[in-house]
């Protein structure tokens, strides 16, 4: 297990198998079954998320995205690293240690039925 800060261009991260995803209009809603957290990714982060299958390193992913979007590779690589480290802190990547305070902020509480009013 590594820390999110150790993720670099040569890292080949993969999505955690404990995460369920729903993608709506290009935005991913992610639920971590063990941490019981929910978060939403913006469209850019969702594209990056969809590439994280462990088969390619982040430099390669950034290169692919740079050519698709017509943006300089070094700029894309910086954005990709920021986004993937953030995903790691949220506990969404296999083998990357989550940040406890980040997890706490993303916890999903369940509703309770109305308690009776003591009329």
């Amino acid at each position: 297990v590594t820390g999110a800060g150790e993720i670099g261009p040569g890292t080949s991260p993969s999505r955690s198998p404990e995460v369920a995803e729903a993608i709506l209009d290009g935005e991913a809603v992610l639920y971590h079954e063990r941490y019981r957290t929910v978060c939403v990714l913006n469209p850019s982060a969702t594209v990056i998320w969809s590439h994280l299958d462990g088969s390619g390193d982040l430099a390669t992913i950034a290169s692919e995205l740079a050519s698709v979007f017509g943006v300089r590779q070094d700029v894309v690589l910086g954005d990709v690293l920021d986004a993937v480290r953030d995903l790691g802190r949220r506990g969404l990547l296999a083998g990357v240690e989550a940040d406890a305070r980040t997890i706490e902020a993303l916890l999903l509480a369940e509703p309770e039925p109305h308690l009776p009013r003591d009329g």
Binding site: A22, L24, D25, A28, E110, P111, P113, H114, R117, D118
Partner: protein, 310 residues
Amino acid sequence: VGPIDVAPALTAEELASVTWAHTTRTFAALGHRFAVRSSGAGIGRYIDAMYAGCAVTGRDPAALYSVLNGLPGDAPHALYLGHDRMVQSARPAPILNHLTWHVNQRVIAERGDRVLLHAAAAALGERGVLLPAAMEAGKTTLVAGLIRSGFRYLTDEAAAIDPDTLLVHPYAKPLSIDPGSWEVLADLRPRLDPSTAAYLEGQWQVPAGAIRDDAISEPVGVEVVILPRYELGASTTVTRLRRSTALVRALEQTFRFHERGARDLDVLRRVVERARCYQLVSGDLAQASAEVTRLVQGDDEHAIGTEVGA
């Protein structure tokens, strides 16, 4: 106030010896099948009317509640489930409040395979609107207004979604109307004799059938998801929501979500994917009802735009 004298709980034999003035029909509140017997006839008849939308024939109750009054001591009112005393009180209102609360709890506990949202829901024809929101957001008041406007009732508390068909099934509990809405819904005040009316101090329990005959909807699909919020004095505004936002807000209102989180996420994704999604803020029931009607009819010209930011 000194300690009150609460009599010991009745034994099974003592409960069996009570003369019951009224026993209700069997009610099926989603998976919770129950009946209520009472030592007072007035409250028994009213509970029968409250849950009329859940009445079923030819099925025995799995749970039997007993509403007692006239017990010795300072707390003459009590509610039992089976042989277990649930609450005993000096006043009748906590008895009915506890009964409705407990039925809700059991509905959630016995949700079966359905996804259950803390939401109101109603239907205009076959077009369903889902109104997920936290407590005090005005769900019950809004759904009462919608029934007045021609909608049919599904629930004011727990919307049950079939994971296969994605239809919302009715949980036609009585609308639980808090004092803050008594003025705007004054015509719904239950007209009861004083001893029965005392059970509704603090919260009215109003069957949807009291608003309009034939008020209960068949199961319907969700065409519109609206996150309602009542704000005193606020002008009525509608904002288009990104579906991801609507989905997260729905997840936040899903009962027992973590038991089957991945499954429920997928079910709600499919619901939201097919729906138009809005946030509604209003301080006026008539305006809010009119706006929901327009949105369900497909007119969102009044919507002020799309939320921004991710």
